[in-house]
Symmetry: C2
Subunit: 197 residues, 2 copies
DNA sequence: CGCCTAATGTGTACAGCGTTTACATCCGGG
DNA sequence: CCCGGATGTAAACGCTGTACACATTAGGCG
């Protein structure tokens, strides 16, 4: 009735690979990561439980593809936030966008960072590196520290922001804070830790 | 042959609750988190698959107990490291111990931080808070910033250290670094970000 | 001492999972 | 036109978490 996919709805799906990714993303948005079973993804895509195996060697590969998508999405989100930041506020704005992304996409964010970035998924690794590049580029443009501290400051900025996101996401820090309180917390933390040396 | 448990090895175990925790910890040390099934824990403890349900309502509760143990263990590890730190090196030493703990207990560390700290497990939450307290107490003793930045600096220190541990643990940062390189990285990052304002 | 109840462990069962193996269907190029 | 590879389905296996009924034991009360 409403199945007006780009391709005909026949025995062959047309682009099941993308459809599976979308179905998995939908499931992630709806519930926690535990609800993401390969079979549920197949069901959501309207296909038999084994159809995914024609497009992903196993479940871990689907998860890696999801993580890759997540890193690309986070990267775009960060770039968009950076573009609208007030002058001098770029770092704080990036940090706030990072934390907000974690809270807005909890399961996906967890998937992205709570799994090894191993050799078996170079695309995921590349996507993660490119996300980091957005942050480190901004850090390089902003920071006033000696050259030999640049790398440490870049890594530290990512660690700081990612640590904030992780701790808040799992209720270790700032439990039950409202969004605006959280933005303020992120601002004060970033100001304090990354502020003018 | 080597089964000389503290209690007799009869129908009733004696202290199955602790034995299950130990078995689960062993499994975590041996493999990844995915290998930790309730049934495997029961097998390791030499008991039927349903015996754990007399001591933990469900698997999630066992995991929470593991996380609680992990936070207490991390807290002790941090305190021990702090006690042996050279004067003025306490923060760096704490950070290095934190990151090392993450790498030495990957699966447990993941369990501790990649699960919600919700209302349903107040013990876990308390243990996490007490771990944080070790860090923030040291931060309070060391930092030279204005009073209104204290809280931000405490939260930021935890976030920084935890972010470093997480990113390194999952291969996002400093892939394939040797332990001493990692210690140096942690030192430079902490020095750069937490250094004298 | 002897029993009775609660605590603790076992056995069986079920649905769901990831994955394998064999088979069905369809598309495109000779 | 037809045939081979790509893509889907069907059935099955062992594993999981968990519920239910049952067996065994420990310890307090007579």
């Amino acid at each position: 009735m409403d199945q007006v996919a780009t391709a005909r709805d026949a025995y062959h799906h047309g682009d099941l690979r993308a459809a599976l990714l979308n179905a998995a993303l939908e499931l992630l948005e709806e519930g926690d990561e535990a609800a993401l079973s390969l079979r549920a993804v197949a069901r959501r895509a309207g296909v038999s439980p084994n159809a995914p195996y024609r497009h992903y060697p196993d479940k871990d590969d689907l998860l890696a593809a999801l993580a890759t998508h997540g890193f690309q999405d986070l990267r775009r989100t960060l770039l968009a936030a950076e573009a609208t930041a007030a002058p001098g506020e770029e770092l704080v704005t990036l940090a706030q966008a990072y934390v907000r992304y974690a809270l807005d996409h909890q399961a996906l964010f967890g998937l992205m960072f709570a799994r090894p970035c191993d050799v078996r998924h170079p695309e995921t690794r590349a996507a993660a590196d490119e996300t980091y590049a957005v942050l480190s580029a901004r850090v390089a443009a902003v920071n006033t520290r000696p050259a030999d501290e640049q790398a440490a400051f870049m890594a530290g900025s990512w660690a700081l922001v990612h640590g904030l996101a992780s701790l808040v996401l799992y209720g270790k820090l700032a439990r039950d804070s409202k969004p605006e309180e959280l933005s303020a917390l992120v601002r004060s933390v970033v100001d304090t830790m990354c502020g003018p040396a």
